[in-house]
């Protein structure tokens, strides 16, 4: 019998090497998250998955599971924290859901609904982030970037292309493209790249298919992210290299 830890009063089994997040999702317990993706090494930057372990707060995606930990997640104190973090991400970038083609398929928006974020909370920063429409098949809308680094990781670890990187520090941190011109068209980025599939928000978009699936019939229109995420877990890569949890880019 494997060891277990307690999550909000339920016993959660885990395998050696799993983190609290991995074990929880595999056992059918949802912990809100944004930068975590089952196919990549946990990153721990968005902090949406913050839980209390034996009374101390920590990111559950990077916290190694141990026997008899007492983990609290779905409590008002932490959900209030998560609401503030979502508000911060909305205020940091330029997120206009009504005109965004990712609406309904966007994890940030879905988390906003699920956590019941009813107000903006912060004064928006309205950063100046130009679009990159240079690539024939792909549009980059940096306005919506939440700096989760999933595309950076996917392009480097899976695609072996290193198309993306992060530049700057602190609030000026931003996504860049690996070209002297800074343009996506000057890279070997392609529609079938893994990095194309992993963006949780609406930064990396295939061109000409924006609204082929009507709003109202999209991923998080049908079910809240808390239920959807569990359907997807444990998410494994299938033989074709596609991730079921990721959207089909075409």
């Amino acid at each position: 019998m494997s060891d277990t830890f307690q999550l909000d009063g339920a016993a959660v089994p885990f395998e050696p090497g799993q983190t609290v997040m991995q074990a929880a999702l595999a056992a059918g317990h949802y912990i809100p998250h944004l930068c975590y993706h089952p196919e990549f090494k946990p990153h721990g930057s968005c902090k949406l998955c913050t839980v209390k372990v034996n009374g101390r707060t920590t990111a559950s995606c990077t916290m190694p599971a141990e026997a008899n930990l007492n983990v609290e997640s779905n409590i008002e104190e932490l959900n209030a924290l998560r609401r503030t973090l979502v508000q911060m991400l909305f205020a940091e970038g330029n997120h206009f859901c009504p005109s965004c083609e990712k609406s309904g398929n966007c994890m940030l928006q879905a988390l906003g609904y699920d956590l019941e974020v009813h107000a903006t909370g912060f004064r928006h920063l309205y950063p100046d982030r130009p679009l990159d429409a240079s690539h024939p098949d792909v549009l980059l809308d940096f306005n919506r970037c939440i700096l989760c680094e999933l595309c950076v990781r996917a392009s480097s670890e899976v695609d072996g292309k290193n198309v993306f990187a992060l530049s700057g520090r602190g609030i000026t941190k931003h996504l860049i493209v690996n070209a002297e011109s800074g343009k996506l068209s000057d890279t070997d980025f392609a529609l079938y790249d893994k990095a194309m599939q992993v963006c949780p928000v609406g930064v990396i978009l295939p061109k000409r298919v924006g609204f082929s699936q009507p709003i109202g019939e999209r991923r998080y229109d049908k079910r809240p992210i808390s239920a959807q995420a569990l359907d997807d877990a444990p998410r494994q890569v299938d033989t074709s290299g596609n991730c079921e949890a990721c959207e089909d880019p075409t």
Binding site: T50, M88, F122, S167, R169, T172
Partner: protein, 604 residues
């Protein structure tokens, strides 16, 4: 301003770059050191040079941009030939740095943060440069100039206008005083190079660690981890290589004791590192020196060379077969976060200085994922002293849980700023008397991330029992507005946040906005509540200590000096941060109008 496709990178530049890369064995883990040299050579890091270097090192060019853009002293766009950065710690402000900055801008005809039209000069601000005892200070092309006055600013402007090479500037400008005011066992030591190592070799590795453990020595960088335990952990951790790292990234505003130790006691620092290497079994060590102390590089290298020559470094140290140890100096490039040990290791590996997820800790997975002992400059000195004088004797100095002495960097409102060495357990009041401080309202202990202590608590003592400190001791008298002190610190944290995690990246900016809103007279009770909310988020969910302590200055000053905030508030529950009349300023400037009709009346 020079065009983006800059012209300074010509054939000779290319040859120099090729030589730079081969001198560093095309090793990408030395990327930051190469970028720093490129910055010194070209005044910025040219786009073309980035591409060329990427080819040499076989890494994506975006990675080079990513690293370069992380550090304040590296520039990917052309800057002025003379890059002037005013140190902007609160102590510099109290000494009038803002008026001096304005004067410099007027004399050179430009705005702060801009490069002059002819590409001659750029002027800006930077975080504390560690010259608080002789401020206001600035950096010109990375070289520190202290004791600024209006006279000195005029002279500098003249030298810049005349394009005088910096080698020909008056040497007096660059003079840095040590200002040692009170000596103890460290600053008074009579040890000769090699004394400690000879004693250590007689003991053997296990006994050294036992001795350090028994001495009760704890880290002097602020956190106070038991040094012997750290060394033992490093020695026992599995690994192919072991490393010793000296953290000389003294970035906490108000701290400058490591600067003085490196200038006065470099042998003792290196002796302590070598002692650590002997006990943990390391053959390689690094001293990570903050970029602001660039001027110490050559003198430190000379000390290393002298120690090599006298067999105190290198192979078979002091004739002891198999005792090999070498030390390299790496320079930082303007990033406070690199004082955090795992961020420092990332930076040593040539990456962005982003703190790692922990566990694992550096003691088992440090530099290149190998066991690494990272200690502060002062800790290595104290370890050497403790070993030489014997653990039992060392333990008698200081207090029960804080043995030994501590160097305190005193600055702010006092007659004698400088370095004071005390046994642990010294009360704040005693330090204030010694440094000639009068009418003191508060003391900031251990810098912005530390504690603001009001007059009613001046009986408190420095030490791990009560007030742990990395050494900063900034004094504020009753003429100072503690709200402005906190606001300066909040700006500091926002500037230095690495941007990795959401709460710190966004939260420190929001905190800054809110403090600025209060300073501008638009603050309300709502904003004070907002500050408390932000404090909670930063403390509970930040990735590292920077975010978790970023709200300390506000929390502490709100607790002890709430009226300093409240007397700036409007009585309303809410006031928008958007300033309607302020937004017309540009229109007024363009039309040359400033009459009553060009202003909106504020309805309060």
């Amino acid at each position: 301003m020079l065009p983006d496709n800059d012209t300074r990178f010509d054939a000779s530049g290319q040859a120099w770059l090729n030589q730079l890369a081969s001198r560093h064995h095309n090793d990408a883990s030395l990327l930051l050191q190469m970028l720093r040299e490129m910055q010194e050579r070209f005044g910025h890091i040219p786009q073309e040079a980035v591409s060329r270097l990427a080819g040499k090192l076989a890494i994506p060019r975006a990675r080079i941009e990513s690293v370069a853009s992380f550090y304040s002293f590296l520039h990917l766009k052309p800057q002025g030939e003379y890059r002037i950065l005013f140190s902007d710690n609160i102590t510099d402000r109290m000494l009038g740095n803002q008026a001096l900055l304005e004067q410099m801008c007027q004399l050179l005809w430009l705005q702060p943060g801009k490069v002059s039209e002819d590409g001659l000069v750029s002027i800006g601000t930077t975080s504390c440069t560690g010259m608080c005892d002789q401020g206001p200070a600035l950096l010109v092309n990375g070289r520190a100039i202290t004791r600024l006055t209006h006279q000195r600013v005029q002279e500098i402007a003249q030298l810049v206008r005349n394009r005088t090479p910096m080698a020909d500037w008056p040497a007096d400008f660059f003079h840095v005083d040590d200002n040692i005011r009170r000596r103890g066992l460290l600053l008074d030591n009579k040890l000769a190079p090699g004394d400690v190592l000879r004693a250590a070799l007689a003991l053997g590795s296990d006994a050294i660690i036992e001795e350090i453990k028994t001495s009760g020595l704890r880290g002097r960088g602020g956190a106070g981890f038991p040094t012997g335990q750290k060394w033992e952990g490093c020695r026992k951790a599995p690994g192919n290589e072991r490393y010793v790292v000296c953290n000389a990234d003294e970035g906490e505003p108000g701290t400058f004791k490591d600067r003085v130790l490196l200038a006065q006691q470099a042998d003792l620092v290196f002796e302590g590192m070598t002692l650590c290497a002997l006990s943990v079994g390391a053959r390689k060590g690094f001293l990570y020196l903050r970029g602001e102390y660039r001027y110490l590089l050559e003198p430190l290298q000379a000390v290393l060379q002298r120690r090599q020559d006298s067999k105190l470094l290198g192979t078979d140290i002091l004739g002891h077969k198999g005792f090999d140890f070498n030390i390299d100096i790496h320079l930082g490039a303007g990033a406070y976060i690199c004082g955090e040990e795992s961020a420092l290791i990332e930076s040593l590996e040539g990456k962005r200085g982003v703190p790692r997820n922990r566990p694992p800790f550096p003691v088992t997975h440090g530099y290149l994922q190998q066991p690494t002992a990272v200690d502060n400059v002062e800790t290595f000195c104290q370890a050497a002293l403790a070993l030489h004088m014997g653990a039992d004797k060392y333990r008698t100095i200081g207090t029960e849980r804080s043995s030994g002495s501590k160097l305190i960097s005193v600055s702010g409102d006092c007659a004698y700023p400088g370095i004071y060495e005390y046994p642990f357990g010294v009360p704040i009041r005693e330090i204030l008397q010694d440094c000639g401080a009068v009418n003191t309202r508060a003391v900031q202990v251990s810098g912005p991330s530390g504690v603001c202590v009001p007059e009613s608590e001046f009986g408190r003592k420095l030490g791990f029992e009560d007030l742990p400190t990395a050494g900063a001791f900034m004094v504020f008298d009753d003429s100072r507005d503690l709200f402005e002190v906190a606001r300066n610190f909040v700006h500091f944290f926002a500037h230095e946040s690495c941007g990795f995690c959401t709460p710190c990246r966004v939260g420190t900016s929001m905190l800054k906005q809110t403090m600025d809103k209060i300073a501008d007279g638009h603050g309300t009770q709502y904003d004070l509540n907002e500050i408390e909310n932000l404090d909670r988020v930063l403390q509970t969910s930040s990735h590292c200590g920077l975010g978790r302590t970023a709200c300390n200055p506000v929390l502490h000053t709100l607790k002890h000096f709430r009226p300093a905030y409240e007397n700036k508030l409007k009585s309303l529950m809410f006031s928008p941060a958007f300033d309607l009349d302020g937004s017309l300023a540009r229109a007024r400037q363009m039309t040359g109008r400033d009459d009553a009709g060009a202003h909106l009346k504020e309805d309060v």
